[in-house]
C-alpha cells in the first residue's frame, strides 16, 4: 500500500525531508520504522533511539504496535514540548 510519511522537529532534520511517500507492506508502526531506518543514513540516525520517537496515524497518537492497514498518513516526531 502507498502511505504518506511526515516528519517533524529533529526527526525531520535528521531524515532531511518533511514528508515522503512510501510503498510498503509494513504491518505495524514498528515494522514501518524498521523499514524506514534502512532507507538512508539520515533515516537510521532519526530512528536510532526508538524510545525518543512518537508516532501518529492519521493525526492520532498511537503506540508502536499499532496496525497501519488503511492509514493514509503516518507521522514521526520527538516527544512533544508545547506549553
Amino acid at each position: 500500500m502507498k502511505i504518506e510519511i511526515r516528519y517533524f522537529a529533529w526527526v525531520r532534520e535528521r531524515v532531511g525531508a518533511a514528508s515522503e511517500t512510501l510503498e510498503t507492506e509494513a504491518a505495524t508502526i514498528a515494522d514501518l520504522i524498521a523499514e524506514l531506518s534502512a532507507l538512508s543514513e539520515g533515516h537510521r540516525h532519526a530512528f536510532s533511539d526508538p524510545e525518543a520517537i512518537r508516532a501518529a496515524l492519521d493525526q492520532t497518537l498511537v503506540d508502536m504496535d499499532a496496525p497501519i492497514a488503511g492509514a493514509h498518513e503516518v507521522a514521526f516526531f520527538p516527544p512533544m514540548t508545547g506549553g
Partner: protein, 148 residues
C-alpha cells in the same frame, strides 16, 4: 469567540480573558494561565521557534479541551497556542477555564496544561547567538499525566 486557536501572530491575554469571562454565564470562578517565552537551558536566547503539526494540533487541543470540560464540569474552556518564531518575553500560549467553583476551574486549567505539554504536537527550538537546539521533553511532564 474561538475556544481553540493555533496562530503565529501575537495575542493579548488580558483582552482574551475579559471576553472569555464576559461569556461565562453562571461561572463563579475563572482561572487563566499564560506562558511566556523565556530562556530554558540557554541564557542567551535570541528567539524560540515553535513547530507544530497543522491539523493534528487543532484536533488534539479540541480533544483535550472537551475532556477537561467533561471531567471538571466546566462551563467553558479556552486554549490558544502560537507557533513560528517568537521573541523572549512574548506570550506563547494561554488557557482559561470557567466553572461554578474555584477548585474545578483551577484543576481544569492544570489538566489542560499538563495534557497540552505532552499530548499536543508542538516542538520548541531555542535559537541562541551560538546556535540552535531542540528543547528536550522532561520526564516530569509525562509523569504529570499520571495524576489525572
Amino acid at each position: 469567540m474561538q475556544r481553540v486557536t493555533v496562530q503565529h501572530g501575537p495575542f493579548d491575554p488580558g483582552a482574551i480573558l475579559s471576553a472569555f469571562t464576559g461569556l461565562a454565564d453562571g461561572a463563579g470562578a475563572v482561572v487563566s494561565f499564560s506562558g511566556i517565552t523565556r530562556d530554558l537551558a540557554a541564557h542567551d536566547l535570541v528567539a524560540m521557534e515553535i513547530e507544530h503539526y497543522p491539523g493534528m494540533t487543532e484536533a488534539a487541543l479540541e480533544d483535550i479541551r472537551s475532556r477537561a470540560i467533561a471531567r471538571f464540569d466546566l462551563i467553558d474552556a479556552l486554549v490558544l497556542h502560537r507557533y513560528g518564531r517568537l521573541a523572549p518575553g512574548d506570550p506563547i500560549m494561554m488557557v482559561a477555564t470557567a466553572a461554578r467553583h474555584r477548585a474545578a476551574a483551577f484543576k481544569g486549567a492544570e489538566f489542560l496544561m499538563d495534557y497540552l505539554k505532552s499530548r499536543a504536537p508542538f516542538w520548541k527550538k531555542e535559537i541562541t547567538a551560538t546556535g540552535a537546539a531542540w528543547v528536550a521533553a522532561k520526564d516530569d511532564d509525562e509523569a504529570a499525566l499520571t495524576r489525572w
